[in-house]
């Protein structure tokens, strides 16, 4: 039936015109490939096309978020109360820990000031939701729902509650792409938390494994060692947990030991990641640092007081 119908749609296109168009488009693709591989002039183009793909991502994400919404709204009161009390307990614990941390931070700043060392910068953190995970299994890329409108920048570090997840490689207007630390093309400067031994953790293409290929046979590393970011690459702030060493194989005739580590973050389970904005440390005057630290502490104390007051009122009512 299709062949009988002699309408324009079904006639064969002019062969030479087709060949010409193909050669033209192929040439254009190769040009784009070369430019994109060498330079980054095409970021604007990517951003523009990425904005048009955004509605598709939202649509794809819709059933999952609807399901989550349904689950959220239909949880029973009892479950909510249980969860609430659990979270309250957790909050108390973390607050207690944070108090100690604030004091330590102030002390650290003071001591570094005495040593005239550059104080560590602090960081601003924002939670963003993962919209999709890489479609290509050999490239571990995720898309998150924050873009240049929210101040995301190229190379920004992404962490989750338990460790480093990856870094931003491409920023769109409303969403951006990040590469995971397990991507075979990703390498991350790390140090062993126990002794400060510096090395590089390379992704393996497997979500549950990182490789440390540059450690000599006599390096002081063993199973169970925690690897943290060293901050040397410039992309990641120092001190975030990355992975735990899970196997060390030393073959005497090989120059390097075969060391693998298990990422601390659950790379294939995360739904939210935190984006980190480093704030420049104030290293102008010694006093300034100490002052701000004290100010922060005062603020925190005042906040606490404000929070405690209504709670006390409630208990007295009962």
């Amino acid at each position: 039936m299709a062949a009988v119908k002699s309408d324009n749609q079904h006639r064969a296109p002019n062969a030479s015109a087709l060949g010409f168009r193909f050669l033209l488009l192929a040439g254009l693709s190769i040009l784009l490939l070369v430019i994109d591989n060498r330079e980054n002039y095409l970021d604007g183009v990517r951003k523009a096309i990425g904005a048009s793909v955004h509605p598709l991502r939202v649509l794809v994400d819709a059933p999952i978020s609807t399901w989550r919404w349904i689950v959220d709204t239909t949880t029973s009161r009892n479950e909510l109360r249980l969860e609430n009390s659990r979270l309250q307990a957790e909050r108390l614990l973390t607050q207690a820990r944070l108090q100690k941390y604030a004091a330590l931070e102030a002390e650290n700043a003071r001591l570094r000031a005495l040593l005239e060392a550059t104080p560590h910068g602090s960081e601003r953190i924002r939670v963003s939701e993962i919209m999709s995970v890489s479609a290509n299994p050999f490239r571990h890329v995720i898309v998150v729902d924050k873009g240049s409108r929210d101040g995301v920048f190229d190379g920004q570090a992404m962490v989750d509650a338990s460790g480093v997840v990856g870094q931003v490689i491409e920023v769109g207007l409303l969403s951006s792409q990040g590469i995971l630390i397990s991507d075979p093309d990703h390498a991350l400067p790390v140090e062993v938390n126990r002794n400060g031994l510096r090395t590089i953790a390379v992704g393996s293409g497997d979500f549950a494994r990182l490789e440390l290929p540059f450690l000599p046979n006599n390096a002081d590393i063993k199973e169970g060692d925690l690897l943290v970011t060293s901050g040397l690459g410039g992309a990641f702030p120092a001190g975030y947990p990355v992975a735990v060493v899970d196997s060390v194989t030393r073959v005497p005739q090989e120059p390097f030991a075969a060391v693998t580590a298990k990422p601390a973050a659950a790379l294939n389970q995360v739904r939210e990641v935190m984006l980190i904005w480093p704030t420049e440390p104030k290293n102008t005057a010694v006093d300034a640092t100490v002052d701000t630290a004290v100010d922060n502490k005062d603020d925190a104390a005042r906040d606490d007081a404000r929070e405690i007051a209504p709670a006390a009122a409630e208990t007295s009512d009962e």
Binding site: A2, Q9, H10, S29, I30, V141
Partner: protein, 163 residues
């Protein structure tokens, strides 16, 4: 007239959009390597049946969108799709009269060509993939082709009947 043309365009565009969405839906890691290449299958079908309207130009534009959506090198999927669709259009008359088994075998060859081109461009750009599962989409794509082609011809005839 324009209404008729819109009527005919809409299902094709919708099928391409649906294919793009299927290609970015998150899947469990275990079956991720075996996701059929929906975009390539859809484009091959439309290029084979309506080569006048949907040929290398459409393939190129869709390829660029795929590149951006998947974060690959800009032009990679565009080039591969363009070449595969060129071959499809070139042989569309033969393809149309093939019985289903022979057509499926040809689609296998086209998908293998597509995946090989992507592999080759990755290799030139220095992104090597050695795993055997890289070729998974070729197998699953071929297996699902009979269903895809039946589904699309269903759509095509229904649209025509409506007109």
């Amino acid at each position: 007239m324009s209404n008729g043309r819109n009527n005919r365009r809409l299902p094709v565009l919708m099928s391409i959009v649906a294919a793009l969405m299927l290609s970015i839906v998150p899947l469990p890691t275990a079956i991720e390597p075996f996701r059929p290449d929906w975009v390539a299958l859809t484009l091959i079908y439309w290029a084979m049946t309506l080569p006048r309207s949907y040929s290398v130009g459409t393939a190129w534009v869709v390829g660029i969108i795929v590149d951006v959506a998947h974060g690959t090198l800009l032009g990679q999927h565009a080039l591969a799709l363009c070449f595969v669709i060129y071959v499809t259009v070139k042989f569309h008359l033969q393809l149309r009269v093939f019985p289903l088994s022979q057509m499926t075998a040809t689609v296998f060859a086209l998908l293998a060509l597509y995946q090989f081109l992507l592999f080759w461009i990755n290799g030139v750009a220095g992104l090597h993939t050695e795993s055997v599962t890289y070729w998974g989409p070729v197998i699953t794509g071929t297996l699902i082709w009979p269903l895809v082609s039946m589904f699309f011809s269903g759509i095509r005839y229904r649209v025509r009947a409506d007109r």
